[in-house]
Amino acid sequence: MTEPTRRTSELTAYLSHELRNSLACIQQFGNILIDGLAGELSGEQREYVCIMLQNASKIRKVLDSALDGTPDPV
């Protein structure tokens, strides 16, 4: 493996790990709020958390496509 290839591979691994962990936290706690596991939300609060989750989902699709070439979840 050439040096530039190795560095690209390491960068991809780093980005995958860091971005996926952060995204997982956003999704986990967003869903916990939506499901009322931390108390009931008002209609407005629910709407805002849904917006947050929808955008997290968009980022996930970009990540899947950019880092692994797989647009669908495994």
Binding site: T12, A13, S16, H17, E18, L19, R20, N21, L23, A24, C25, I26, Q27, Q28, F29, N31, I32, D35, L37, A38, A56, R60, D64, L67, D68, T70, P73, V74
Partner: protein, 132 residues
């Protein structure tokens, strides 16, 4: 009747907390480990019914934990679900060959993870075959 015990192994405390809330809400007892050494210790002392395992861990990665699990006859039938931020290439096939019942990249949908947990538990209890 004792509740089903799930060992969550992840070095990220926020991930552990989020999984804990979700799993407890679904009736599971949740145990934690944050590295390969404490994961191995928890497997021996707590004998969980299932383990959710991250691959990128301090003190030896998730593959090391699975290798130790497979070498211990008393523990080898504990089902493992790998949940990782690592890339698919190399890691998925390697994890499944190492004995993982399922492999998911973070973030995983709650319903998908809970279904995989129920299926892996059914298989380990002899109520279902892997190919069903």
């Amino acid at each position: 009747m004792d509740r089903t015990k799930i060992l969550v192994v992840d070095d990220n405390p926020t991930i552990r907390k989020g999984l804990s809330v979700r799993l407890q809400a679904n009736g599971y007892e949740v145990l934690f480990a944050e590295d390969a050494i404490s994961a191995t210790a928890a497997l021996v002392t707590e004998r969980p019914d299932l383990m959710i395992l991250d691959l990128g861990l301090p003190a030896g990665d998730g593959f090391v934990v699975m290798e130790r699990l497979q070498r211990n006859d008393r523990l080898a039938n504990i089902p493992v679900i790998v949940l990782t931020g690592r890339e698919l290439a190399c890691n998925r096939d390697r994890a499944l060959q190492a004995g993982a019942a399922a492999f998911f990249q973070k973030p995983v949908d709650d319903g998908t993870l809970l279904f995989a947990i129920r299926k892996a538990l059914d298989v380990s209890r002899g109520e279902l075959r892997f190919d069903e």
